[in-house]
Amino acid sequence: MDEEPERTKRWEGGYERTWEVLKEDESGSLKATVEEILFQSKRKRVIESHGQVRLGMMRHLFVVVDTSRTMDDQDLKPNRLTSTLKLLEFFVDEYFDQNPISQIGIITTKNKRAEKLTDLAGNPKKHITALKKAVDTTCIGEPSLYNSINLAMLTLKHMPGHTSREILIIFSSLTTCDPANIYDLVKTLKALKIRVSVIGLSAEVRVCTVLTRETGGTYNVILDESHFRELLMLQVKPPPASSSSECSLIRMGFPQHIIATTSDQEARPSFSMAHLDSTGGPGLSLGGYYCPQCRAKYTELPVECRVCGLTLVSAPHLARSFHHLFPLDAFKESPLEEHAGERFCQACQGELKDQSVFTCPVCQSVFCVECDLFIHDTLHCCPTCLHNQGAS
């Protein structure tokens, strides 16, 4: 099982002289170095795209949160559990923003047992409410990796082949209490093509390294809270699909939004099918989305129709994922001194003051650092290329 050579551990290497990064200029100020460090950290955020690789767009992800005794530790403020749950709320929002047709489920593990907090669902509100309520749970006992993965596997194994099945474990303890051999479970996971990734809060644990390596996931240990946030954000992007996942045509419905007012003669208030098992909140509403196959009513999309099983989405939901499929090329970076034209950013109309300017390879317009980040993170299209596209 051990094909990779072991990396040298950090204490086995030589000394790292981290103070040599800081250099003073003639007057003794560190301003230039600090600006350089800030600039580098901004650039680090632009991650290279995968290129022409098939991505797993419809994802079923189970998040396993360790709620054992070690989560009471106060190295993340106010304690590890509260900090983790808050970051997970943010993660759930971002996840559904980038992958609107995917689903998440949450499992907690403590006291050598695993429990499902929320089932696999495509609606972020349910998960966020559950995460908010979970802040009060007591952290006792030891976690159980085997039980939590088993619980997730029971649901994931019935998911259709074209979706990507993933488990993300947030693991803070250094021990795990399993009823059976976990290496056998790893073999089963590989057979079912489930990808497991782990984010460790304490230190590197060998069983997690083997688990992630065998199933094709990633294992990282956090340094501090902002690093934790970055690692969670890395999980938001759709992973490259494994070569054995099937591609199929999925039948989906696109319901119309019917808006009715009380003055409308034929409008009658009715219950949404999604409220069948939820107890809180008013259930009656006038308009909504009607399933094209069975005419059941729902108030929000995307949802899976409980009556006929058809997945209901709206066209903007699918459009949200298009930027993963057609990613924007990275812009070419060049130093400010070499730039011959006007010192003027064509997107935000500001002056170019930073060290480098970015040029779009297609339309040759220049942008500043902030616009480059904004374009690649949020906008996903170059503002000036759009005109050339239409004119041809």
Binding site: M252, G253, P255, Q256, A315, S321, C381, A391
Partner: protein, 299 residues
């Protein structure tokens, strides 16, 4: 009353498609591009007067480029004492407003002079909206500590939609939704499905103007109040937005369709190969029950 800490930014995107405006001048000489610009100037001035901390930007969108009419490159905010010929209007008008109007007029004249008229009767709004979002992003980073900025974009659309820009338009709309920017639309001629979706997703207002001559009135009545004040006014009702998807093969709007799991293209009928990404699909066979083998009688 808004305090010093609240900055409200209004970006007006004006569609300056030469073919549409040329035809419009022939159809209805009372409403030309200069009248439209007057209405936009009145709207801009009114917004700047409402609160001292309000900010304005105006972008003209043509087929080849989107150009900032205001603030233009040659103007910087601290430049109050610059040109005597520009600022001393002599009529007691607030200096910022007269400067803004003069710059706008100058820039639009230069833009129209250098514009090449190609054979394109539709408008490319996605580029102008993308630039507007970059500008908003830059200004939101430059705020003083403790200041809050709310921004909105008002699109004044004249010509038809261009179908090529659907994907980029949707990207821009989602970016606006993420940044909390409202997109309002004031449509002069024909209804635009893309703008209706934009207004619905970001929470803005969509209005097709019945009488173009009264553009100033509609702008001031409907689009001048910002989002908090709109809750207290009775504004035109929201339109019914058609969110059905169009299939990639025939461009018909469909209610139930098949979606390729790799490239998310939508088809109305089942086909064994996806035309966009050329993936062969597994055809789902009906599940057969395992037949029990019949024991052949031994002869």
């Amino acid at each position: 009353m808004a305090s010093e800490d609240e900055v409200s930014l209004l970006v007006i995107v004006l569609d300056v498609n030469p073919i549409w405006w040329g035809q419009q001048t022939q159809r209805q000489p009372e409403f030309t591009l200069s009248k439209c610009l007057d209405a936009v100037m009145v709207m801009g001035n009114s917004h700047l007067i409402m609160t001292r901390t309000n900010k304005l930007a105006i972008i003209a969108s043509t087929c080849q480029e989107s150009h900032f009419l205001f603030p233009s490159k040659h103007w910087s905010a601290g430049d109050g004492t610059g040109d005597d010929s520009v600022s001393a209007g002599g009529d007691g008008k607030y200096e910022l407003l007269s400067v803004a109007n003069d710059f706008m007029a100058e820039e639009i004249r230069a833009l129209v002079a250098r514009m090449e008229v190609k054979d394109q009767a539709d408008t490319l709004l996605a580029g102008a909206l993308a630039k507007a979002l970059c500008y908003i992003h830059r200004l939101s980073k430059q705020l003083a500590a403790g200041q809050d900025m709310t921004s909105r974009i008002l699109v004044i659309k004249a010509a038809e939609d261009c179908a090529l820009q659907y994907m980029n338009f949707m990207n821009v709309i989602f970016a606006a939704q993420k940044q909390g920017v409202l997109i309002d639309a004031c449509v002069l001629d024909s209804d635009s499905g893309l703008l209706q979706q934009a207004c619905d997703i970001t929470g803005g207002l969509y209005l097709k103007i019945p009488q173009r001559v009264a553009l100033t009135q509609y702008l001031l009545w409907v689009f001048l109040p910002d989002s908090e004040e709109r809750a207290q006014l009775v504004l035109p009702p929201s339109v019914h937005v058609d969110y059905r998807a169009a299939c990639f093969c025939h461009r018909n709007l469909i209610e139930i369709g098949y979606v390729c799991s790799v490239c998310l293209s939508i088809f109305c009928n089942f086909s064994p190969i996806c035309t966009t990404c050329e993936t062969a699909f597994k055809i789902p066979l009906p599940l057969l029950k395992a037949k029990k083998k019949k024991v052949k009688p031994v002869t």
